[in-house]
């Protein structure tokens, strides 16, 4: 009995130590984000927090963080929404219809897994330039709307739905689109949840493409803002930069924590097979 308690205590301590280690970089970043410039530029550095919260105001203003957060959130939301719709339609076509060329078309979707952005960036940039989409929301949203990942997740989900449901629906004369909207989508909640977290965070965190495809301060996204905060200050006032970084971390953390349950379920689902 006693031995078991000791073991539990050790486990608790180990977990808390891991949490501290994993959070340490952020804790240190928060400490410096509260310091005055004189404290930030001190030799040796000062490792205790101070009360200078104006860094957060400065950071917010220095690179127009509010606008960037809006851009990132808007783009992430639109891409997530668009991807879910397109993937649902495609997965529905692949699982509930028999048609000519299905095998080939499925293979074509599969092949896109081999073409992550860096592999085609040289010409993607040209095409988006020629469309006049550089520095527009179009250029940041449309190229990401089709997704093999989403299509596969939904195909997996749809395949697990008992075929009897479909037979019954057909007997009742239910149209395909109604079946999709009223039966399949409501049954795919956790897949949609998982995909929402994956895509939202993926797009929110994207760096290379928005770096190339935007140029005005109205169109910048938050990840580029992080680099701009570092570049904007002539002496890298880490107090201000870290304050800004901390603020940019908030939205994806909110999405992550609020959707954690369905996300974990969706993942367990995805790794079940």
């Amino acid at each position: 009995m006693k031995k078991k308690q000791v073991k539990k205590l050790i486990l608790h301590i180990l977990i808390i130590l891991s949490i501290l280690t994993v959070s340490m970089p952020v804790i240190l970043a928060i400490i410096i984000s509260t310091q005055t410039p004189a404290e930030v530029y001190s030799s040796p550095p000062k490792i205790t927090p101070s009360g200078n919260f104006s860094n957060y105001v400065e950071a917010w203003k220095s690179v127009n963080l509010g606008r960037m957060m809006f851009n990132s959130a808007f783009i992430a939301f639109m891409v997530t929404l668009g991807k879910i719709i397109l993937s649902l339609l495609a997965a529905f076509a692949f699982t509930h219809f028999d048609f000519k060329g299905k095998g080939i078309l499925f293979f074509v979707v599969l092949v896109t897994l081999l073409l992550p952005i860096p592999v085609r960036i040289v010409s993607l940039f040209e095409i988006v330039s020629k469309l006049g989409w550089i520095n527009t929301y179009w250029g940041l949203i449309v190229p990401f709307l089709a997704s093999a990942t989403g299509t596969f997740l939904f195909i997996q989900r749809f395949k697990m739905i008992p075929v009897e449901l479909l037979d019954a629906a057909k007997m009742d004369g239910c149209s395909p689109m109604r079946y999709l909207l009223q039966i399949l989508i409501p049954l795919s909640g956790s897949t949609i949840g998982a995909l929402t977290v994956i895509e939202f965070i993926y797009i929110w965190n994207q760096y290379l493409w928005p770096l190339m495809a935007t140029n005005s301060k109205e169109m910048r996204v938050v990840q580029i803002g992080v680099k701009m905060m570092i570049q904007a200050d002539a002496m890298n006032n880490w107090g201000i930069i870290m304050a800004g970084v901390m603020m940019t971390m908030v939205p994806p953390l909110i999405v992550f924590f609020t959707m954690q349950q369905s996300f974990m379920k969706g993942f367990a689902l995805a790794s079940d097979k």
Binding site: P45, F99, I201, N205, Y207
Partner: protein, 293 residues
């Protein structure tokens, strides 16, 4: 066993939006990129000269490009080995029956929401040669300040640490899901045989986790080859002395800074073959799909 709706045109209509995007923004640009890899291209695109495999030949005889290959390789192996080991240890801790386990879990997987750029910014502050905290801490321990970001070996250590940290949440989530699938009976059977916890892990749990480990291995490899671009750009910009100049960063430099479009296109093609290779290995061994995101 399989039942379908009968409709001749609907499936095609359903696929049209996906295929428009795929063709215009994936296949066509990929094809164009591969075509450009056979040309010498003027920095402003006003002229191009067909050059056959010139760009490839130059790349594979360039010490810098080969160096970039080996940096990518070392970096990705380090990220995989360190990252998966740490994630597995934490997942094992989180898989024990303990009070408050759900809260503990949230506090350990949150780095999933970190972006590469943010991880880069925080580590750049910590290890900065002027006013950096970690530089100061380490000087208290070893007596001098290690040149964390100005020595190429140490910089590689720093980017590995940052990348591992950023990836931790993702890896823990998958290991946790995997551990929950490991058959309880199998564990009990082994414990009846009198195997201790370590032995039980090594002969029962770990083999059962190998499909997940393999999946994570591929995902982490791809992450370190591609998604770590933001991390490198914020943290080291490929330096010092090209010490953290992974392939994707070299591509970016050749395309965007040196304006050598032909080279950049050839490098894209090389990266493409790498992805194909990794994906084939993945398919052959587990039959699982690779998700890039």
């Amino acid at each position: 066993m399989q039942s379908y709706f009968k409709n001749k045109w609907l499936p095609y209509i359903l696929l049209i939006p996906t295929f428009i995007v795929l063709i215009v923004f994936l296949f066509y640009p990929a094809f164009e990129t591969f075509r450009l890899s056979l040309y010498k291209v003027h920095p402003f695109g006003i002229r191009k000269i067909f050059a056959g495999f010139y760009n490839f030949k130059k790349l594979f005889t360039s010490a810098d490009y080969l160096h970039s290959f080996s940096v990518s390789f070392i970096f990705s192996v380090a990220v995989v080995v360190v990252g998966l080991f740490v994630a597995l240890m934490i997942a094992l801790l989180l898989n024990q029956k303990l009070k408050g386990q759900l809260i503990y879990r949230s506090f350990l997987i949150w780095p999933y929401a970190l972006s590469p750029a943010i991880a880069g910014a925080i580590f750049r502050f910590l290890f900065n040669p002027a006013n950096g905290y970690l530089g100061y801490f380490s000087s208290l321990i070893v007596g001098f300040e290690p040149p964390w970001l100005t020595n190429s070996t140490l910089a590689l250590v720093v980017i590995t640490a940052a990348a591992t940290w950023k990836n931790l949440g993702y890896n823990i989530i998958f290991y946790l899901a995997g551990l929950q699938n490991v058959q309880k009976e199998a564990l009990e059977a082994a414990s009846i045989d009198g195997a201790g916890p370590v032995k039980r892990f090594s002969i029962v749990t770990f083999p059962l986790l190998s499909p997940i480990t393999f999946f994570l291995l591929i995902m982490n490899l791809i992450y370190s080859y591609f998604a770590s671009f933001g991390l490198i750009d914020v943290l080291t910009e490929g330096g010092p002395a090209n010490g953290t100049n992974i392939l994707i960063y070299q591509l970016y430099r050749d395309f965007f800074i040196n304006s050598k479009t032909g080279y950049a296109a050839a490098e894209s093609f090389i990266l493409f073959t790498l992805v194909v290779l990794l994906t084939l290995i993945q398919f052959k061994t587990t039959g699982k799909k690779v998700h890039y995101q």
